[in-house]
């Protein structure tokens, strides 16, 4: 699919995703978790992928990690195709932090064992050097090195998430896929983890793919945002533009649902007709805008195929046939 390029930032493109599709067969039906997703991830940037559950966020992360294979489309890393196979070094360069730190750390292993494995696989360090590296990693994420022989159950949720981050850092990656890394944590702990992510990014020139449904976090951490709806990219571009001037109606709905804590934030939320939304509607299948069944702003054109991405500005794309318009004030 030809589409306009988003030129957000001058950093070179690290990962390019071209028309990625992933179909799952459910009974006699085919569901597209990803229905032709294209995007560029630039080195040193944070790209946030947002959307409701079932929008394909995690499937996209899994494709980049190589955990899952796409039905069609390509993934390029520094221009090299890594869609089908990747060597050990390629796998080293892309790591992951998953959502729940309660289920992603092996309860039978000590922190030392948990962190030792990726180091042993991806380096030639001796046992003693690996032990020093484990201590160093724990210090980097703010966990005392003498916790090394402890097991995950002895740690708090925040500490476990730090250990999960240390495990991702262990093989010295270029990219970390962060899949809802703070959504199971209290705000006070979340704030600390976010600060650490930002510090680590600048220290090690990391690139983040930040998968989340928390738009308030995205606003403060991401350079670029990709809004997914039922496997389609419905809007993407520079963070400030997507928040200050949302174009796609789905993006407006997401923004208006954020519970905020102050008047100035309330003023930034687009209005949304909540009573116009209906529950229990079956997904449409590729013949129309995927958001059509829920959209109170639909026009006649909206059922004429899936709308393509068009540029609102050079750094802001959307796929809406009845967008909110260029100068739409946030309160309509």
């Amino acid at each position: 699919m030809a589409e306009p390029a988003v030129s957000a930032g001058k950093n070179p493109v690290l990962i390019r995703i071209e028309d990625l599709r992933r179909d799952f067969t459910v009974g006699s039906r085919t569901v597209s978790a990803l229905a032709g997703v294209s995007l560029d991830i630039r080195r040193g940037q944070t790209v946030a992928v947002v959307g409701e559950s079932g929008s394909g966020k995690t499937t996209l992360g899994n494709q980049i990690l190589g955990i899952d294979q796409p039905t069609s489309g390509r993934i390029l890393f520094e221009g090299r195709e890594i869609t089908a196979t990747r060597d050990t070094d390629m796998r080293r360069r892309i790591q992951v932090v998953q959502q729940s730190p309660y289920t992603t750390l092996n309860p039978k292993r000590s922190l030392r064992q948990i962190l030792d494995l990726p180091i042993a696989i991806h380096s030639n360090r001796s046992r003693r050097e690996r032990r020093d590296r484990v201590a160093e990693l724990l210090e980097i994420v703010g966990v005392p090195a003498d916790f090394m022989e402890r097991h995950p159950y002895m740690l708090s949720g925040g500490q476990r998430q730090r250990v999960a981050l240390a495990r991702a850092l262990a093989p010295e990656p270029d990219v970390i896929v962060l899949d809802e890394p703070t959504s199971s944590l209290d705000v006070s702990v979340q704030a600390r983890i976010l600060q650490m992510l930002v510090d680590l990014q600048s220290q090690y020139q990391l690139t983040y793919l930040f998968i989340t449904h928390d738009l308030s976090v995205v606003r403060n951490i991401a350079d670029e945002v990709v809004v997914l709806y039922r496997g389609y990219v419905v809007e993407r571009g520079a963070t400030t533009e997507l928040f200050s001037n949302p174009q796609h109606r789905y993006n407006a709905m997401l923004l208006s649902s954020i519970p905020v804590v102050s008047e100035p934030e309330e003023a930034l939320k687009p209005s949304w007709d909540w009573d116009g939304d209906v529950l229990g509607i079956e997904p449409s299948v590729g013949a129309a805008c995927p958001f059509l069944p829920r959209c109170p702003h639909a026009v006649a054109l909206c059922d004429q195929g899936v709308p393509p991405l068009v540029a609102a500005t050079p750094t802001h794309l959307h796929a809406c046939r009845n967008p909110r318009g260029p100068g739409a004030a946030c309160r309509e």
Partner: protein, 320 residues
């Protein structure tokens, strides 16, 4: 707040005997709900919010616990009641909406069976057929299209948002005076959470039920509640009307919680709160927030409640 509270929790203490010693989980919690009032109880995990709710529902007592204080529902002290008496109150005069809709519904009964059971619990004279008819009506009332199919479904066949809607319907179907809602919608998408809260507001208004909303999300508090209690480490540290609390938070803990929330205005990263909720078996003497407080000073011992403005109470030696 109206003069006569419908639910009043008075000087509630919860102590649990553990291997490490006695944990003093709730340390004199008092809160009041006026008839039809929406009140939030907010704080970090582990500060005693859910314990307070479970005690008020008569769902927390075992051999190693001791509960002191009073929970008055329209003049009756609920703490002294036996299980038989509770059955006439729970689900009829006071009901609860739990956090995880997938786990709160029984997976081996259909939604229709569970709703009908709740209806017959409230009104034992109802026949099964009548109860099922009322269940269908209740679902249509909360805008569930295709209510026949939904009633015949098991919870795992339905979406989280729909299950949450059913739980709320179930909690309100007997027109209780008080609903305790523990993080409703927080396990769901933000769009579904918004719809859930709107539904809760509309239904409780209609029935005239008061709501005690337990949450850690200050944004949810601001959109839903009329009055707020801020809880820290088993103690209420601040109480105010919602608008006032967000305009002029007075307790250092409330201020710290607000500063930890990422803002939509994009002011950069939120500020973490240093330290963590203290160990309950050996809590710091006096103000339990003192070890984490940027304004702590030598006389931070056992602060009383100050009332700098009518209805705005704060437990801090600084007084503001």
């Amino acid at each position: 707040m109206s003069a006569e509270p419908i639910l009043a929790v008075e000087d509630l203490h919860l102590r649990i005997r553990q291997f490490e010693g006695e944990a003093h989980i709730l340390n004199g919690v008092s809160l009041r709900l006026g008839a039809g009032e929406r009140v939030a109880l907010v704080g970090e995990s582990g500060c005693g919010k859910s314990s307070t709710a479970l005690i008020a529902m008569g769902l927390m007592n075992s051999g190693n616990m001791s509960v002191d204080g009073r929970v008055m529902l329209e003049g009756t002290d609920l703490l002294g009641l036996g299980e038989r008496e509770w059955r006439n109150i729970r689900g009829r005069q006071i009901s609860m909406v739990f956090q995880d809709p997938g786990a709160a519904l029984n997976p081996v009964f259909t939604v229709g069976d569970q709703l009908a059971t709740a209806i017959r619990r409230g009104d034992p004279g109802t026949s099964l057929a009548e109860a099922q008819e009322r269940a269908a009506e209740a679902l249509r009332h909360v805008h569930v299209v295709d209510s026949e199919r939904v009633l015949a479904s098991y919870p795992f066949q339905l979406s989280g948002g729909l299950n949450q809607r059913i739980l709320i319907t179930m909690a309100l179907v007997n027109r209780p005076r008080v609903v305790v809602a523990d993080e409703p919608g927080s396990a769901l998408d933000v769009t579904v959470q918004e719809q859930t809260l709107r539904l809760m507001k509309a239904l409780t208004d209609e029935v005239g039920a008061a709501v005690l909303l337990i949450t850690h999300n200050l944004g949810v508090v601001r959109t839903f509640a009329q009055r707020v209690y801020v809880m820290y480490s088993g103690t209420i540290v601040e109480e105010a009307e919602t608008a006032r609390l967000f305009e002029t938070p007075r307790h250092p803990y409330t201020k710290a919680l607000l500063a930890a929330v990422p803002r939509l205005t994009g002011e950069g990263l939120p500020q973490p709160i240093p330290g963590q909720v203290p160990d309950y078996t050996n809590p710091p003497a006096g103000c339990r927030f003192q070890p984490r407080c940027p304004h702590a000073r030598a006389d931070c011992v056992d602060p009383p409640f100050a009332e700098p403005e009518p209805g705005h109470r704060v437990r801090c030696v600084l007084g503001d």
